[in-house]
């Protein structure tokens, strides 16, 4: 029998009983009406009996819960306004949290596909002098680490190399990892089909072989096994595919450009990039370009590896400054120097979404409190009809569970949408992240949402235990005069809401102010009208010897169609500068480590409108046949030759070969980093492009009109000048400058959204609280007005309370707001120090808004008709 049939059955049975009883009473001489009520009296509490019978059925608990849920659903559907006000903020907060949890999980925790990652470690060079990690290790460093056989089970070195790939038609840029044969034993990754690379593949004469990523296998080979044995042209070398990496495995690093699609034996790099053939990197300690990873033997601790690495470093010939540092696998998901800022911004986002959750929690608590007050009479009635308090509490919990459930359901699309939007902010992290829907993150957020609902519900729950039957039934409570003056829980919640809003509001204001500041701070160059693209001569199979000629031709062609053109090694601003050790003639044999440099063509400074403050610009005549020269910026001049004229001085630069250059000019400082401080500009040395022609150049063009509309023409000009050169990163310089702000923008948009929600809900809270108070004290107000008080005065008295709440909340929020802005400043580049004015203004704005809201709510007093109110009550 189903539950419904069973209920009907019981109803029918009890009705029969009452009928029979009434019949007997009628036979005893009572009138039909009297007989009926006598039967009911004799029976006792019908509802309670039914409850007892249901309990006898044994499954009442489940049944009750089911009923509770159904009832709750009906109730919430009936009060749509309430439901929306409770569910929407909570859904938003849950979505927010799910999105940040997905990001945090992808960045910090999600497995990268290595076996037993607890036994993995990475070895990095560390500069004592700079107290900073250096980005890479030399091949010899890797060999040294590999020789620690008692600690290390396997070791590998690899580098990510951007390559030009031809599979069937057309060339594409893809990333590859050039790895030593130990890569597979070290990571524990084994191909899904085919074989891993072996020591055989590392022999100089070995035929080139490669493994491909699972996604490339799926997209290009349809996941067919016939992919093995086919040929891929990588940087002009024919590689035979011998294996496919497992699904989802995309390298051990998150932040080294795009995920690799190919894995190739390290020595093959000599065939692909002829410069490496001459370099002899295997024997030269100063050529550090590899990342070294190791698999520790079981039971070996990271500390033991570190100790061994210290010994290795101590035995390094000549380089006292450099030590080795061992990093555990969870640390080495990033380049070591970059982990901390990434983690900080992740926690910042988590803090923002926790803030959203807190706001939603207080909003819900407030709404529920208001409703439990409104339902006091209903509760009393149900108690009087025999409902147990525990039973009512359960009913109440069910309501909140349904609320939270709805919020979770609605939070899901919010979460997916926001995660999708966050993908657009990928540059903010500088990582290639796997932001697919993350069940762990979703479950966590749903749990947090439920916990929030339970927490919010706990405040009003105990009001049930306080309901005074007699008083509530008579309706005494709403009119009670003495009680209303007390500070009640709702006021506290409203004040806390205002405080939360204050925190989010000041944070949003601070970020807005900082973003505006970055817009007004001079860049040191003028990006207006400039179009930039990156061109790769190697992909175009241009021999190194022809590069200069091609570059000159390209410049000449572009200059006929534009107001100016120039080439550089890299476009500004960028976080990834090339750097080299340098030694000015003032420094008596002491190298300065890693000073940034760039190669620029003639016309570069003019195009970007960077003034030459001393000496001369780079000239077209500065080429490989003329004497080596350099132009420095003011910061480099200050660093190398403080207080002296650098023009005419000499500067040694240690690139692949060491050159001794004459400084011929000084240019003004500019913002080289995306959020660089122009007051403390980086020292940068500029080399004439034709003296040191790079393989990849950033092609700059100062267009006559809108640079965006010039893009197709730009492509045509480059295409007809240089055959087959792929252009990438085509964008206006203004877009490039703007992209540097993406981290600040991401956080500021998130905080602005949460701030807006917080302020809105806080004001709604004040509105509801005031309106409730007016309703509660209607009789008192009516009496006051009836005996002559001016309604305006009464309104003012009520509004004052709202203003007081606003002020109190703002004051309480001041301290966490100060803390939050300090956190923001320490976590994000480019955030200003907040001034007292900012806090003061935020407080005043909030308090004013609170006051206005309270006033609006209190206005309804004017509509109170004393006569009508007093007659009814």
């Amino acid at each position: 029998m189903s539950g419904r049939e069973r209920e009907d059955d019981l109803d029918r049975e009890l009705r029969d009983h009452l009928d029979l009883e009434a019949e007997e009473q009628r036979e005893a001489g009572l009138s039909p009406a009297e007989a009926q009520s006598a039967a009911r009296r004799a029976f006792g509490n019908l509802a309670l009996t039914k409850e007892d019978v249901r309990r006898a059925w044994g499954w009442s608990w489940i049944d009750d819960s089911f009923q509770d849920l159904r009832f709750a659903m009906r109730l919430l559907l009936r009060n749509r306004g309430f439901t929306a006000a409770a569910v929407i903020p909570l859904a938003f907060a849950i979505g927010c949290l799910a999105c940040t949890a997905t990001i945090a999980d992808a960045i910090l925790f999600r497995s990268l596909g290595m076996k037993q990652p607890d036994r993995l470690a990475a070895i990095y060079r560390f500069s004592r002098e700079k107290n900073a990690f250096l980005p890479s290790t030399a091949y010899l460093d890797f060999r040294d680490v590999q020789s620690l056989g008692s600690l290390v089970e396997a070791a590998a070195a690899f580098a990510r190399v951007s390559v030009d790939v031809r599979l069937s038609e057309g060339a594409e840029r893809m990333n590859s990892e050039a790895v030593t044969a130990g890569y597979f034993r070290t990571t524990g990754v084994s191909p899904v089909i085919g074989r891993p690379l072996s020591a055989e593949d590392e022999r100089p004469a070995a035929p080139p072989v490669a493994l491909i990523s699972y996604s490339l296998w799926q997209s290009r080979f349809g996941g067919r096994a016939s992919a093995l044995g086919s040929v891929a042209w990588i940087d002009g070398v024919a590689f035979t595919l011998v294996g496919v990496m497992p699904r989802g495995y995309e390298g051990t690093l998150l932040d080294w450009a795009a995920n690799p699609a190919f894995w190739i034996p390290l020595p093959q790099i000599k065939r692909m990039l002829p410069v490496f053939a001459r370099l002899n990197y295997e024997d030269r300690r100063e050529i550090a370009w590899l990342t070294t990873i190791v698999r520790l033997r079981p039971g070996v601790a990271l500390g033991q590896l570190q100790a061994a690495a210290n010994t290795l470093a101590a035995n390094l010939p000549g380089r006292r400054d450099v030590t080795f540092k061992a990093l555990s696998a969870d640390q080495s998901r990033f380049f070591p120097g970059r982990r901390a800022p990434t983690v900080r911004i992740v926690w910042l986002l988590v803090a923002v979404s926790a803030g959203a959750l807190a706001i939603a929690c207080f909003n819900l608590a407030n709404l529920l409190l208001a409703r439990s007050a409104a339902r006091e009479r209903e509760t009393a009635a149900r108690l009087a009809l025999g409902a147990g308090r525990l039973r009512l509490l359960r009913q109440y919990i069910a309501e909140n569970a349904v609320l939270a459930g709805c919020a979770c359901v609605f939070g899901l699309p919010v979460a997916l949408g926001m995660t999708g939007a966050a993908q657009a902010f990928e540059t903010a992290f500088g990582l290639s992240l796997n932001l697919n829907p993350d069940p762990r993150a979703l479950a966590l957020s749903a749990l947090a949402g439920l916990a929030t609902a339970v927490l919010a519900a706990s405040a009003p729950a105990w009001t049930f235990s306080r309901v005074q039957l007699a008083g509530a039934m008579k309706g005494a409570a709403p009119g009670a005069v003495g009680r209303a003056a007390k500070l009640d829980l709702r006021d506290v919640f409203v004040a806390v809401q205002v405080a939360c809003a204050m925190v989010a509001f000041t944070a949003a204001a601070l970020l807005g102010q900082s973003m505006r500041k970055w817009d007004t701070i001079p860049l040191g160059y003028d990006p207006k009208g400039v179009l930039v693209a990156s061109g790769d001569t190697l992909s175009a199979r241009i021999p190194e010897a022809d590069r200069e000629g091609i570059y000159r031709k390209l410049l000449a062609e572009l200059r006929t169609e534009t107001r100016g053109a120039a080439l550089a090694g890299q476009a500004m601003p960028t976080a990834n500068h090339f750097a080299a050790d340098m030694m000015p003639d003032s420094a008596a044999g002491r190298w300065t480590r890693l000073i940034d440099y760039d190669e620029v063509s003639d016309g570069y400074f003019k195009l970007l409108r960077i003034p030459v403050v001393a000496g001369r610009d780079v000239l077209p005549e500065d080429d490989s046949r003329s004497r080596p020269v350099a132009v420095v910026n003011q910061a480099a001049a200050r660093l190398f030759w403080p207080g002296q004229n650098p023009v005419g001085r000499r500067l040694k630069i240690r690139l692949l070969e060491t050159t001794d250059r004459e400084v011929v000019g000084v240019v003004a400082d500019a913002r080289y980093l995306p959020l660089g401080d122009p007051q403390a500009a980086l020292p940068v040395v500029f080399l004439p492009l034709f003296q040191n022609a790079p393989q990849v150049v950033a092609i700059h063009a100062l267009t006559r009109g809108d640079p965006k509309s010039f893009i197709p023409e730009f492509g045509r000009i480059v295409g007809r000048t240089v055959k087959d050169m792929p252009l990438s990163d085509v964008q206006t310089l203004e877009e490039r400058v703007d992209a540097g702000m993406s981290q600040v923008r991401l956080v500021s948009q998130a905080i602005a959204a949460v701030g807006a929600l917080g302020v809105l809900l806080a004001l709604a809270g004040i509105l509801a609280s005031c309106a409730y108070r007016v309703a509660q004290r209607k009789r008192e107000i009516a009496v006051r007005i009836a005996i002559g008080a001016a309604p305006e005065r009464v309104i003012r008295a009520f509004a004052a309370r709202g203003i007081a709440l606003g002020l109190a909340g703002s004051l309480v929020g001041l301290l966490p707001a100060a803390w939050a802005s300090a956190l923001l400043r320490s976590s994000l580049r480019g955030v200003d120090a907040p001034g007292a004015i900012l806090f003061g203004l935020s407080g005043v704005v909030l308090a004013l808004a609170a006051g206005a809201t309270a006033w609006a709510a209190a206005r309804r007093i004017a509509r109170i008709q004393p006569a009508a109110v007093l007659r009814v009550q």
């Binding site: 309670l48 009996t49 007892d52 006898a56």
Partner: protein
């Protein structure tokens, strides 16, 4: 009414089940009949609260001691829910009866000791 209600005795915990089972021994009956029967046969000394009769009936049914069926009462030409004993119910009634007899005898032997011991 009030004079009579003083004569009424509250039911001992657990005895209601036994009384219901005993009432059903001669044959099936519906709820109202069971209540009425207990009231009448005890000359209204034991008056079962209707509210507690039905939970007890459903509890006994859950325990498998009685079954129920909607059957037409010929006299009234109307369907009622009739309860009847199951074999398990009969067994339980026997056990409870003998327990009860032992209890009553024990109490009686304290309250009214045998005459030979009295002397």
């Amino acid at each position: 009414m009030s004079a009579r209600s003083e004569d009424r005795i509250g039911l001992l915990q657990g005895t209601l089940d036994m009384l219901i089972l005993r009432t059903l021994r001669p044959g099936p009956a519906h709820g109202h009949q069971i209540g009425k029967h207990i009231r009448q046969t005890t000359q209204e000394v034991l008056r079962v609260e209707h509210g507690s009769l039905y939970p007890a009936l459903h509890r006994l049914q859950e325990q498998g001691l009685i079954t129920s069926r909607w059957e037409t009462d010929k006299a009234r030409n109307r369907e009622f829910k009739f309860y009847r004993l199951t074999p398990a119910g009969r067994k339980r009634l026997l056990a409870e009866e003998s327990d009860w007899k032992r209890l009553v005898q024990a109490i009686a032997s304290v309250m009214w000791p045998a005459p030979e011991e009295q002397s």
